[in-house]
């Protein structure tokens, strides 16, 4: 029976030769992830169910990133619960202030996820690690609690949609524009319950950072996971970051797909998702004059080194518009140091931006850059739902770091090619 790449990983982790779509399986987990919002609920469930031990203290990652450094007493109390739990259970991969980063940037960087792994995380953007050729998906806190105690989770084997990537990106188009384009095309439930499998000769031209960005937003099309094939670039990344042995799974040539889309990367243009859905995309032919008050460059979608490299290139030696608060949020401590070494932080500060410690911060309207009524923000994050970054009547426009940086300079949504 022919299988997709995702199905092969699920079969291998449930002790089966083959699985088929719709089948319910119980699978072994390589890693269970939680953050400062979801872990407290999971710990409560864990204790309520009378669990004492975790299945493996090295296979649980707890990352305090959403409201940290703690923004108020309540969030401080929440992190305290997790800190004590981690201490008591001897969880080796507990990341708090000083070591933490936004979870989905941090885990691959720390080498905790490699190709072929099966990972659940109590955070919807856990699908990010598909970039490494792993199966990873977001779950809730109860799944996380069960995962922590038994090292297992139930899954319904998903059908898949294949995205056949051809040619290469040109100009200012980036991985962010690819995924926004795809979500605009298939809708926020276009891949509901399904895998999004990326394939084709265009894959090799995409950097690992771009693949992370693309898989990160698979959930924004409703997908269970997004996944890239493993190539030389993947293996090089894994070797550089991890001691774990990668496992390579390939989709069968005759695997069944519900749909196949050809995506010509050379035709992708800078794309912006208008409020209040990631699928509400427009290219610059019909964007017009949209004045903005804030720009955020960061998050698990676009807070990596290459994202700041592009932003620095655009902002260097210039000044952001006086009316635009421009927030730069590297998503891990390592990225923070790397952009410091590269001199970008100086470029950003000279341009009138602020540079923050790694945190989810404004991405989910937590802290560090909340919008007032009627304010607009261009953000490199992944969601622009009502009230996502603050007031229910504020607006978030999702874009690439290049578009975000260009917009910061002019105070309106702009593509970098229009800058003189």
């Amino acid at each position: 029976m022919a299988m997709t790449m995702t199905q092969k990983i699920l079969a291998a982790h449930s002790g089966k030769d083959t699985v088929k779509k719709g089948e319910l399986i119980m699978a072994q987990l390589d890693l269970v992830l939680g953050n400062d919002v979801t872990s407290p609920v999971a710990i409560k469930e864990f204790n309520k169910a009378g669990c004492n031990c975790v299945f493996d203290c090295n296979k649980i990652a707890l990352v305090m990133d959403h409201f940290t450094p703690n923004k108020d007493i309540k969030s401080a109390e929440q992190v305290k619960t997790v800190r004590e739990f981690a201490d008591e259970k001897g969880i080796t991969n507990f990341f708090d202030v000083g070591e933490m980063g936004v979870e989905h940037s941090l885990l691959p960087e720390k080498g905790l996820v490699v190709s072929g792994d099966l990972v659940i995380g109590a955070d919807s953007h856990t699908c990010t690690y598909g970039a490494l050729g792993a199966f990873s998906t977001g779950v809730g806190s109860t799944d996380m609690a069960a995962g922590m105690s038994y090292g297992r989770a139930w899954f319904k084997v998903p059908p898949a949609i294949k995205f056949n990537l051809i040619n290469k990106l040109t100009g200012w188009a980036s991985g962010k524009d690819v995924i926004l384009h795809i979500i605009g095309k298939i809708g926020v439930d276009g891949a509901l319950y399904k895998s999004m499998e990326f394939a084709g000769e265009g894959v090799s031209s995409l950097s690992m950072d771009e693949r992370f960005t693309i898989c990160n937003m698979a959930i924004e099309a409703g997908a269970k996971n997004g996944i890239f094939p493993v190539d030389e670039k993947t293996l090089e990344y894994v070797r550089e970051h991890s001691n774990k042995q990668p496992r390579i799974f390939e989709a069968d040539g005759d695997a069944e797909y519900d749909e196949v889309f050809d995506i010509d990367l050379s035709k992708i243009k800078p794309t912006v998702a208008f409020p209040h859905l990631p699928s509400n995309t427009r290219t610059f032919d019909d964007i017009g004059e949209v004045k903005i008050n804030q720009v955020v460059i960061g998050s698990c979608t676009n807070g990596r080194f290459s994202d700041f490299e592009i932003a620095a290139k655009i902002l260097r030696g210039k000044k952001v518009d006086k009316r635009v608060r421009t927030l730069i949020i590297p998503s891990t401590q390592k990225i923070y140091l790397d952009i410091l070494d590269a001199g970008f932080i100086k470029d950003f500060i000279n341009a009138g931006c602020i540079v923050s410690t790694p945190t989810c911060g404004p991405c989910l309207g937590g802290h560090m850059g909340i919008l007032a009524k009627d304010e607009r923000c261009v953000s490199t994050t992944n969601r622009n739902f009502i009230g996502r970054m603050g007031h229910p009547e504020s607006e978030v426009y999702l874009a690439s770091p290049a578009v975000a940086a260009a917009s910061a300079l002019t105070g309106r949504i702009l593509q970098p090619s229009e800058l003189i």
Partner: protein, 159 residues
């Protein structure tokens, strides 16, 4: 099991940020979460919802984040069951795992209709309109989780 309740209706793509805004995620207390349920979409929800009411929505209900606070808030607000054309997958899992009844059903229901739901039979009786619809009951695997009182308990017993 059978339940009867009044429909409170919303549209497509009701996301977890409107079910329970992130600014309230600094707690996992059910009552506190319920007090802010749906407030960015419908300020009147909390004051008009009655114990046993049924939330009815369109496609992709619960899209967005993985916060279990969303089904917890809905359940604690008094809602007995959510009926939608389709559910976002993490919300679907979370609802099952936390014991919030959900039904995938695409039928004509209006705000205020009185509905009677029979889970085992997979029957939905719209008492206001006098029509009966069907929906697929949960597969045995999931019924087992629900019958054992949640995911953790079922795993412990089936170990």
């Amino acid at each position: 099991m059978k339940i009867t309740g009044k429909a409170i209706k919303y549209g497509d793509n009701v996301d977890t940020d409107v079910i329970i805004p992130a600014r309230y995620l600094t707690t996992s207390n059910e009552k506190e979460l319920a007090a802010h349920c749906m407030e960015d979409l419908d300020k009147t929800f909390v004051s008009r919802v009655k114990e046993g009411d049924i939330m009815v929505a369109g496609a992709n209900f619960g899209c967005g984040s993985s916060r279990e606070h969303a089904p917890i808030a809905i359940k604690a607000s008094g809602i007995a069951c959510v009926i939608a054309k389709s559910f976002a997958r993490i919300f679907y899992r979370n609802a099952i795992n936390t014991g919030l009844a959900i039904i995938e059903y695409d039928g004509d229901i209006s705000e205020g209709d009185i509905l009677e739901v029979d889970y085992e039979k997979g029957e939905l009786n719209n008492l206001t309109r006098g029509n009966v619809g069907v929906f697929p009951p949960f597969p045995p695997f999931l019924q087992n989780i629900i019958n054992k009182g949640g995911l953790l308990k079922s795993l412990r017993e089936d170990k």
